[in-house]
């Protein structure tokens, strides 16, 4: 019987939510790694019982956890993330050079076909890879070393590599996104990289053709059409139809185009979802109404989805890695909030219910569709 497993990372541990294909009743296990921040947890497409989680704390740094049984038990793996060679410097907030310093793993992206290979996006921004199931991690230095790295600056949340997308068709193609440097593409399995930010316009960057410096919040791709990318930028929702070569704005009739997550319906490549947030200063929904916006036209025309979501006095945020979709026939949409709710729609966003209501602030949500 089909079902789903939802991996929820929070400020104080990880939770695993499971349900059958109806997605109405939920079993919740956790907290796993209680008291630690879990920025992200994700399962391997090659084996759904192989899970990886990024566990960290200000006291004791980074731990990588791995489960081989779908989250019932976990084992700590290697946690040494050393930048390749002499790390050099990036720009600090005041424009001065600042040494590259590892802070934490923001995002783990397991390989599409090898359960022991995982990519890790870290703060300060860099890309690492393990090929031994998490025992050891090695940087792919071409990203930081391609030339613009010394000009990258942190955003308010730190200089994090938060998005890693593996192209399911062009197997050597990868995308990453960094706040606040922008989007990058590799066509040789991560060895070399180039910025792909043409068309992005960012307040605070005087040069309209700036190669880097854009605060990309999230990029999403539908696996059937990997040349089409959707982006939630600091401000602006953007789209590329040529694998990032150029971008154009699709914010359309959104009430605000500031936000963090963006995702694509599992079966409709032109149906996309965002959660508008009031502004960069006001990290909560406009008018105290939590609304997911859906476009069925690949952008520009958006409709609010409100059924089951709080429509008054709601002042939560939804972080960039805290939205996910399942691939059941009626596509499920999931997102978590800084208020500790995990909302689920089992009808592609038409209606919502809280699968969990009182968790710690949610940092990430990933869904696995189980057969």
């Amino acid at each position: 019987m089909s079902g789903v497993r939802v991996l929820v990372g929070t400020r104080k541990g990880a939770f695993v939510l499971t349900s059958d294909g109806k997605r109405e009743q939920w079993d919740i296990s956790g907290p796993h790694f209680g008291g630690w921040e879990v920025y992200h947890a994700k399962g391997s497409p090659a084996d759904p019982d192989r899970l990886y989680a990024s566990q960290s704390s200000g006291w004791s740094g980074q731990v990588i956890q791995r489960s081989d049984d779908g989250g019932k038990t976990w084992n700590a793996m290697g946690n040494e993330f050393s930048y390749d060679g002499t790390p050099g410097t990036h720009q600090w907030y005041d424009g001065t050079p600042h040494p590259w310093e590892f802070e934490r793993v923001w995002h783990l992206e397991p390989s599409l076909d090898d359960l022991d290979t995982v990519y890790a996006g870290v703060e300060d921004a860099g890309l690492f890879r393990t090929t031994d199931g998490g025992k050891s991690w090695h940087e792919l230095p071409g990203l930081r070393g391609h030339g613009s790295g010394k000009y990258w600056q942190p955003g308010a949340g730190g200089m994090c590599l938060h998005t890693i997308i593996l192209d399911p068709v062009e197997s050597n193609r990868m995308f990453t996104a960094i706040s606040a440097a922008g989007a990058f593409r590799s066509d040789d399995a991560g060895e070399t990289w180039r910025p792909v930010n043409r068309g992005l316009q960012s307040e605070g960057i005087p040069d309209p053709d700036a190669e880097v410096g854009h605060c990309v919040h999230r990029i999403a791709m539908h696996p059937s059409r990997p040349e089409v990318l959707f982006m939630q930028k600091h401000w602006d929702v953007m789209r590329s139809d040529n694998a990032g070569e150029t971008w154009h704005e699709i914010s359309g009739n959104l009430p605000t185009d500031f936000g963090f997550p963006i995702d694509v319906h599992a079966h409709e490549p032109d149906t996309i979802y965002v959660v508008p947030i009031t502004s960069d200063a006001l990290h909560y929904p406009p008018d105290g109404k939590l609304r997911v916006y859906r476009s069925r036209t690949g952008g520009d025309d958006w409709e609010p989805l409100t059924k089951g979501l709080p429509q008054e006095h709601c002042y939560v945020n939804v972080f960039r890695d805290a939205m996910s979709v399942d691939s059941l026939d009626s596509c499920g949409i999931y997102f978590g909030t800084t208020g500790g709710q995990v909302y689920v729609s089992n009808d592609a966003g038409d209606s919502w219910e809280a699968a969990a209501s009182n968790l710690p602030a949610v940092l990430s949500v990933e869904v696995q569709t189980l057969s």
Binding site: G58, W59, S60, Q62, V63, N79, E80, S82
Partner: protein, 98 residues
Amino acid sequence: MIRVVLPSHLRVLAHIDGEVQLSIDGAVTQRSVLDALEVRYPVLQGTIRDHSTKLRRPFIRFFACEEDLSHEQPDLPLPERVASGAEPYLIVGAMAGG
């Protein structure tokens, strides 16, 4: 035997129940105790000291015999009462919010 007390979050991480007891060959220093601790529990590598520099993480402190040893040189001998096992060597998570 050297007695080491870890903060609760590291005891959970390393599956440690209560104090750790370590046998140290040679001088009993902060470095030798932490080296032995990380050999016994590899999962603690990087959680107390930096992997490469071996410097104390900023929000970890080292106490013993009612003294804060966090800023002492790592190769200085620990107090005799720690070396004899009369007093534990305390690894403490600093009070730092969260």
